[in-house]
Symmetry: C2
Subunit: 157 residues, 2 copies
DNA sequence: GCCGATTGGTTTCAGATGTAACTATTATGC
DNA sequence: GCATAATAGTTACATCTGAAACCAATCGGC
């Protein structure tokens, strides 16, 4: 007969439930970071992510951006439209394949990018201040494994 | 003079950036779970969370629900409206304070709740399958500390 | 008791997001 | 070469979300 200690919990305590906890943590962190750059630069989260991708890997087409930052092409298209309107991103022409529109940061875009990166890294460093360097490595490794595993679970449905 | 090893990274690699990683992980997990109960029960994430809160702590008023599950009152109001329309949640009257509307699951609501809980716990268990029991405890503890710390950082602005 | 402030909750409006349809261009099979 | 399929990206529509305005009921000071 199963001992009570072995029986899995049949009640769901939301505040201990992993999917819920991840969601609340991620949202708090994302909003906190957004507060830092939204005021001075008036960027949406999606827009900032596109800029971050282009800041590192330009030129990229819209769909390449999407692959890098896990954003669907519609979201990328809209973010790019906003960034282009404000002169932060430039669209170039690919003469070999005219469907594609390689993107890169404009001079202004690079300037904004260069000012946000330190803000973002500083916030991340403050956040990691909750953990020792060793714990930080642990957390990174464990969350990575959760992510890989979640992807596997999702595929096998 | 600072050694290169001590210098903090001045480039932002999105795929290693904690806020970004948390966001992508949380979204993947949340969507995977949603897939499990959305098909059979047609519940939005917010609706399921309200049901989970009421399943454990009913009766609760709308604002008490909001406090427990970190959802603003507008979102709670809308989720409750949808649940009530489908007969999953009942609104009772508080005769001492007629502004308040204590909520509880209906019989149907309890039945749906009782069928979703095992699905959710099973998914969580599969997800935790990526980690050993010891690692799982570590991850829970570390993510908790990140959360507390993120809240502190946010207040001190 | 009465008036202004507070609280519980809903509605409204504007912006964000996802799905599907659409346009334009390039690749493929025959 | 031409018809069909596939790909890059945008547009349209329907839904979701958040902020602020709003209504109703209660509290607090006097």
């Amino acid at each position: 007969m199963p001992s009570p200690l072995q029986a899995p919990s049949r009640t769901l305590e939301l505040e201990k439930f992993l999917p819920y906890r991840l969601s609340v943590l991620a949202q708090l962190v994302s909003e906190s970071l957004h507060d830092l750059y939204a005021g001075p630069f008036d960027l949406a989260v999606t827009e900032w992510r596109v800029m971050a991708a282009l800041g590192r890997f330009a030129p990229l087409t819209a769909s390449e951006v999407g692959q890098r930052i896990v954003m669907d092409k519609v979201a990328v298209s809209r973010a790019v439209a906003g960034l282009e309107k404000r002169g932060l991103v430039e669209r170039t022409a690919d003469r070999a394949d005219r469907r594609r529109a390689p993107l890169r940061l404009s001079a202004r875009g690079r300037s904004v990018h260069a000012r946000i990166v330190p803000l973002a890294l500083e916030y991340e460093a403050e956040l990691y201040g909750a953990l020792t360097p060793e714990e930080r490595r642990q957390f990174d490794a464990l969350s990575d494994r959760l992510f890989i595993h979640a992807q596997l679970l999702r595929q096998n449905r």
